[in-house]
């Protein structure tokens, strides 16, 4: 039995929405960062599904690049988060508020 492609796409959209919601709701910087990773992985799922649908490999190739970029992003992002933590000993995003609109 094969699972219809639409199911994968719905799952991808749901994961992406969870990511967006977590990005907006969660207050810990690391969790917010994880929410971004979740969104990227939701996109990966969509790419693989579409690649399967079109029977073209470039969608799957795209996924590899997304993963590499996500890893690079983690390196830079965690470095910035460490700088923040050193400066104020907190990872609560509400307390990172030196500058206001």
């Amino acid at each position: 039995m094969t699972v219809p492609l639409a199911y994968y796409l719905v799952l991808s959209a749901v994961l992406f929405s969870i990511g967006v919601a977590a990005f907006l709701i969660r207050r810990n910087i690391i969790t917010v960062f994880l929410a971004i990773e979740l969104m990227l992985n939701a996109v990966n799922l969509a790419f693989v599904t579409f690649a399967h649908q079109w029977r073209i490999v470039n969608g799957q190739i795209f996924v590899f690049f997304v993963m590499v970029v996500a890893a690079a992003e983690a390196a830079v992002g965690l470095a910035i988060i460490i700088t923040i933590f050193r400066a104020r000993n907190t990872l609560n995003i509400d307390q990172v508020d030196l500058m206001k609109l």
């Binding site: 967006v20 990005f23 795209f62």
Partner: protein
């Protein structure tokens, strides 16, 4: 596209097409190696001198390569394209990168000089690829190379809490917008089976605006709207501009703006122009037009009104950048070659004025050894640093759009392109843009008034400004004046690159 799709990949051609980018990346490694290996015990001044020299030589070499070995055509499924227009934009990017390196000269915020210059050059490599691609894969990778470098540059002042905070906000919003852009790309790929802009455009031509296509369009606009700091995706800009070390701020405000707007226009006009599917792109309004109209109007209003109440010069520049992004969207909205020409002229002259304004702030910081942030800090500057004050006057008047400076002609070309042609944007939007430019004059003049009329604090001696920085600022100011007095120098160049009469 399978590997069999490219019979006979010519690696020599690939090498020739990427030669300028390779040169810049090699320069980055050279700057890094020289600084780390041979200059460990040298003074900061020597290290800045050597590093800046290497970076500028690399940029000059890359410009030389662009013109010695001009390339044409496209390579590998639109991965790399080269034509006179990309060459114009790449030259502008390289010049701006060299200016950034020169303006950083003698800066005191970091002792990691090799790394700093290398990251600037990596960002430039990313931008060079970004403007020379019509394939979403390479656009995404080079956009991320650019963004990641900019996050690092924004966080470069490790002793400042504001720097880290600005970088964090920039990073988080940037990461989210990258995810939105990717989601848009994946939907477009799902709809068309291609990641090549030209093929995507061909595939969506003649189709109705289905919900999935609409979502893809909005997601893509969100991703790029963040990069160009348009409302409502502008939240990072004021904090990043204010927190970042001033030369990094200059880079974020100038070069990355040029590259982002060019690729935004490319994606919208080459890739998604047929969005609504009523014929060829030059005689129908694309489906994304209403989204861009809304974003442009909001950017103009919010950017300019918020700039009025700012007390920090950098935040003022950030909000005015949001307003300028609103004007520049008019160039995309025009959906014509004239619009693109006006957009490129505007964004290049805007970048010159912005890098100059930030450069003056950086020079003051280095000269005074204190942060210059609030507008009152600039009081009576004309008596302490007359040359810098005059440069600042030119940059701010150009940003406000006063003739005969470059900013005026930028606005003139942009607004007339937006009104001309069958595809013109709505008239009320242009009227709004003109009204908002008038408002912008008020807050720019407020800063200029402090510089020329305000009373300096007692016992403020004349400043010692590095000669390199002063000379660079004078060259930038001269460019702003010359491009304003003879706009045809640049407009004609862009026009002939686009084969416009």
């Amino acid at each position: 596209m399978t590997a069999a799709g490219y019979p006979g990949v010519s690696y020599l051609r690939l090498l020739l097409m990427t030669l300028p980018q390779i040169a810049i990346a090699a320069t980055a490694f050279l700057a890094l190696t020289v600084d780390l290996a041979t200059l460990r015990k040298a003074s900061l001044r020597t290290r800045w001198r050597v590093g800046t020299l290497i970076a500028c030589a690399g940029c000059a070499g890359a410009i030389l390569l662009l013109f010695l070995y001009p390339q044409y055509g496209s390579f590998g499924d639109g991965m790399l394209i080269a034509n006179p227009l990309t060459r114009v934009v790449q030259t502008a990017l390289l010049v701006l990168a060299a200016f950034t390196a020169l303006l950083s000269f003698d800066a005191v915020f970091t002792s990691h000089i090799g790394e700093y210059l290398a990251v600037i050059l990596f960002a430039t490599t990313g931008m060079m690829f970004l403007v020379a691609s019509q394939n979403f894969l390479l656009i995404f990778i080079s956009l991320e190379l650019l963004s990641l470098s900019l996050y690092i540059l924004a966080a470069f002042n490790k002793s400042s809490r504001q720097s880290a905070e600005g970088a964090l906000k920039y990073f988080l919003f940037g990461g989210m917008s990258a995810a939105f852009l990717l989601f848009g790309i994946s939907l477009l790929y799902g709809l068309t089976g291609s990641i090549n802009l030209v093929e995507i455009n061909r595939a969506i031509q003649g189709r109705p605006l289905t919900p999935m296509l609409a979502v893809a369009l909005v997601m893509t606009v969100t991703g790029f709207g963040f990069k160009v700091a348009a409302v409502p995706f502008h939240l990072w800009a004021p904090d990043a501009y204010q927190g970042a070390p001033t030369p990094s701020g200059a880079f974020i405000a100038s070069s990355s703006k040029v590259a982002s707007f060019f690729v935004f226009a490319q994606v919208m006009l080459v890739g998604l122009a047929a969005g609504q599917g009523s014929g060829a792109w030059h005689n129908s309004k694309a489906g994304w037009a209403p989204v861009i109209v809304a974003v442009a109007a909001l950017s103009m209003i919010l950017g300019n009104l918020a700039a009025i109440v700012q007390t920090s010069v950098r935040r003022l520049l950030a909000y005015s950048a949001v307003g300028h992004a609103g004007y520049m969207l008019l160039g995309i909205l025009a959906q014509s070659a004239w619009g693109v020409r006006a957009l490129i002229y505007y964004v290049i002259t805007y970048a010159l004025a912005a890098i100059g304004a930030f450069g003056v702030l950086a020079a003051l910081e280095a000269g005074d050894n204190v942060g210059v942030d609030e507008i009152p800090d600039l009081a009576g500057l004309s008596r302490r640093a007359p040359v810098l004050s005059f440069c600042m006057l030119i940059f701010f008047l150009s940003l406000a759009g006063i003739p005969p400076l470059a900013g005026f002609f930028g606005k003139f070309y942009l607004f007339s392109a937006a009104l001309a042609g069958e595809n013109s944007g709505p008239l009320w939007l242009v009227v709004l843009a003109i009204a908002m430019s008038a408002i912008s004059l008020y807050y720019y003049l407020r800063v200029v008034k402090q510089i020329y009329v305000g009373e300096p604090a007692a016992a403020a001696p004349p400043m010692k400004i590095s000669r390199t920085v002063t000379a660079t600022l004078c060259v930038i100011a001269l460019l702003v004046v010359v491009l304003g007095c003879a706009p045809n120098l640049l407009v004609g160049w862009i026009g002939s690159a686009m084969h416009l009469p």
